[in-house]
């Protein structure tokens, strides 16, 4: 069995299984804890609170005007590399074909030259994010293994992807195998660390927005 066969065969199956089971368990674990109602008389109706919660998913995507001066640049940096990641995952033709084999539909992709440019930009942004994390005293204090390892596995997928498309340093098959293996690693790590925020972010914003709306408070 070649490295590529292993990476996209048993390793990928194990990675997807771990991902699905662990993500499910991490979410089910919340539900097993108590979910409390609130006996205090609400100021807003349930539909109005829910609507505000849904709205908060969008509005919290960018800081309130009162905060922009202090946080706008940092948030822009964060969102920028996320956009790069989305473009790489969703708009590179080989990825589309892989995802298409899972979901049954495909869509047009971007030319590989454009993808390469996006990869380089995203890589640069990821390095900037790391630089910020280690130089900003607040972020440095808050950071732990999870932050650095999650950053590392994300970076690894992009680096191996770039090397694969550029046929850099090794035969294509081996590079592709390494790229898929790095993706397998990301899938396995995903449920155990902060990458889970991909599942949490929208419900979290919605819940906070709805609870604040219940009080008539700004969100």
């Amino acid at each position: 069995m070649t490295l590529l066969d292993f990476a996209r065969g048993p390793a990928l199956k194990v990675a997807i299984s771990v991902f699905c089971l662990a993500v499910t368990w991490r979410i089910v674990a919340f539900v097993l804890l108590r979910i409390r109602g609130d006996l205090n008389r609400p100021r807003a109706s349930v539909p109005a609170s829910l609507a505000r919660g849904l709205l908060t998913i969008g509005t919290r995507s960018w800081p309130h005007p009162e905060f922009i001066a202090r946080t706008g640049a940092g948030e822009a940096l964060g969102y920028s590399y996320h956009l790069g990641l989305f473009a790489l995952v969703l708009l590179f033709t080989p990825h589309i074909l892989f995802l298409g084999s899972l979901v049954g539909i495909t869509w047009p992709g971007l030319p590989s030259g454009v993808i390469t440019i996006i990869s380089v930009i995203t890589l640069t942004l990821l390095l900037a994010v790391l630089f910020r994390r280690v130089t900003n005293p607040v972020m440095r204090m808050l950071s732990n293994f999870d932050d650095y390892f999650s950053w590392f596995v994300t970076l690894l997928v992009i680096v191996t992807g770039l090397a694969t498309t550029a046929h850099f340093g090794a035969p294509y098959q081996r590079l592709l195998g390494l790229h898929i293996l790095s993706f397998d690693l990301l899938l396995i790590w995903f449920p155990f660390g902060k990458l889970m925020h991909a599942f949490y972010i929208f419900p979290s914003r919605a819940i906070n927005g709805a609870l604040l709306a219940r009080k008539g408070a700004p969100s």
């Binding site: 674990a29 919290r60 949490y200 914003r205 819940i207 906070n208 008539g216």
Partner: protein, 441 residues
């Protein structure tokens, strides 16, 4: 934490003496008691972006990273991940999170109490949408159970729980209230068997601002509404809420709830006191264990409703350029934003808003019981500097608020900084500008 100033040792009363192991056990069980799906979700969702620091006046004033709001619950976040999260066994196996120690908890007293007003501004900035302030409140509960509430808050909460007053006074508050009625020549409705509205008071007003007490009585008299104070439920503040003693908070709230039920009140009117409003409006029913059989209204929202219904008319107030301090607990966390502005508009007040106002206003620095913590004063003054600058930048000559603790904090700032502004009560301004209505109340 090398970028941070060293944390001071815990400030405790002798009654809070406890073995280190018991402190840790108390904190963990205190935190676990409240650990529901929502708080677990909040703890899990943090991506360590540190953006919450940029909403916090303690961080902004000092640039000391330890004042980052989410860091203030770090021991509890670690304990949750180690003991109760989905992969807790893995955290323990690989030693990703160490067990919380009594020393760490003692140090955290400064972060959870001295340097946090529980103002909730951090909950509005988090890009993930985590209600950081709610976690900090839970952290305070755990600290209380570990015997680590600051001495001043602990002692006041204990006194209030036992007597109804946070501190002994030369004259009981009931007598002081009646004396205020005589001095300001206003009727004090007291201990009526039945009333539509039950009134209560910030003890800060009784002790420092009797004119605000008289203003409340005068406005209610003017409106000719059926209302009463109750001797056994006079004090609006809840030091159990500040100290983090949830059971004590419940007992202190219960005193007011029982009195409101006894006089068959339909409304419990909370005076100009931000945290009293939060404790009664948004937490009391939960602690009581059932929906309250009456409404809880903050005095400005009650008066704004009277205004809208045509039962209250106000004359023009000659205040000149005026600015307004929104109390965090009633405005940002409680939703009372429009009512004070409606009252000011009705009086023709020339309102010059601060750069950060309404739900985004910076805290006065005294909230969350911080004004009562002696050793917190130097840090509090540091955070106040930018707030006073914001007030000055409005070029207002009149400075209003609707919270007695804000008022007391700014009064203190006036003395400390030789500041030229005197905070005034919005309620007192309303009382001074009442216009007779011809219709029935």
């Amino acid at each position: 934490m090398s970028d941070s100033a060293p944390l001071p040792v815990a400030n405790l009363s002798p009654a809070q003496s406890m073995a280190p192991a018991d402190r840790v056990a108390g904190a963990m069980s205190g935190f676990a008691k409240e650990l529901g799906a929502l708080s677990a979700f909040r703890l899990e969702s943090c991506i360590h972006c540190g953006i919450c620091a940029d909403a916090c006046h303690y961080y902004i004033a000092t640039e000391d990273p330890q004042y980052t709001p989410i860091w203030k619950v770090e021991p509890f976040k670690a304990a949750y991940k180690r003991e109760a999260s989905a992969f807790a066994p893995l955290y323990r196996l690989f030693g990703f999170k160490h067990q919380v120690t009594a020393d760490q908890l003692e140090q955290w007293q400064h972060l959870l109490f001295d340097s946090c007003n529980m103002c909730g501004r951090c909950s509005l900035i988090c890009p993930i949408g985590i209600d950081v302030a709610a976690l900090i409140e839970q952290g305070r509960h755990a600290m209380f159970d570990a015997g680590l509430a600051p001495r001043e808050l602990y002692e006041k909460a204990a006194h209030q729980r036992a007597t109804g007053q946070p501190e002994a006074s030369a004259e009981p508050y009931r007598e002081q209230l009646l004396a205020i009625g005589s001095r300001f020549q206003v009727e004090i409705p007291l201990d009526k068997d039945e009333a539509e509205i039950m009134l209560c008071l910030p003890r800060t007003d009784i002790e420092h601002y009797p004119s605000a007490v008289a203003a409340l009585a005068r406005v209610m008299q003017h409106l000719r509404v059926s209302c009463t104070f109750r001797s056994d439920g006079l004090v609006a503040e809840n030091y159990g809420y500040y100290a983090g003693g949830k059971d004590w908070q419940r007992q202190i709230s219960r005193r007011l709830i029982d009195q409101a039920i006894a006089c068959k009140a339909k409304i419990l009117l909370v005076p100009e006191c931000g945290h009293a409003y939060a404790a009664l409006r948004w937490e009391a029913a939960e602690l009581y264990g059932a929906p309250l059989p009456f409404k809880v209204l903050q005095v400005t929202e009650f008066l704004a409703a009277q205004l809208q219904a045509g039962r209250l008319k106000l004359g023009k107030a000659a205040t000149g350029a005026t600015t307004f301090q929104d109390p965090c607990e009633s405005a940002r966390k409680g939703g009372v934003n429009e009512a004070p502005r409606q009252l000011m508009k009705a009086m023709g007040v020339d309102l010059h808003e601060m750069e950060n106002h309404g739900g985004f206003s910076f805290c006065c620095g005294g909230g969350g019981g911080v004004i009562d913590i002696e050793r917190a004063a130097p840090l509090r003054y540091r955070t106040l500097e930018s707030k006073l600058r914001e007030v000055d930048e409005t070029q207002a000559s009149t400075f209003l608020t609707s919270c007695s603790d804000c008022r007391r904090t700014f009064d203190d700032a006036q003395a400390h900084f030789k500041w030229d502004k005197t905070p005034q009560s919005l309620l007192e301004l309303v009382a001074a500008n009442l216009v007779s209505t011809t219709g029935p109340a």
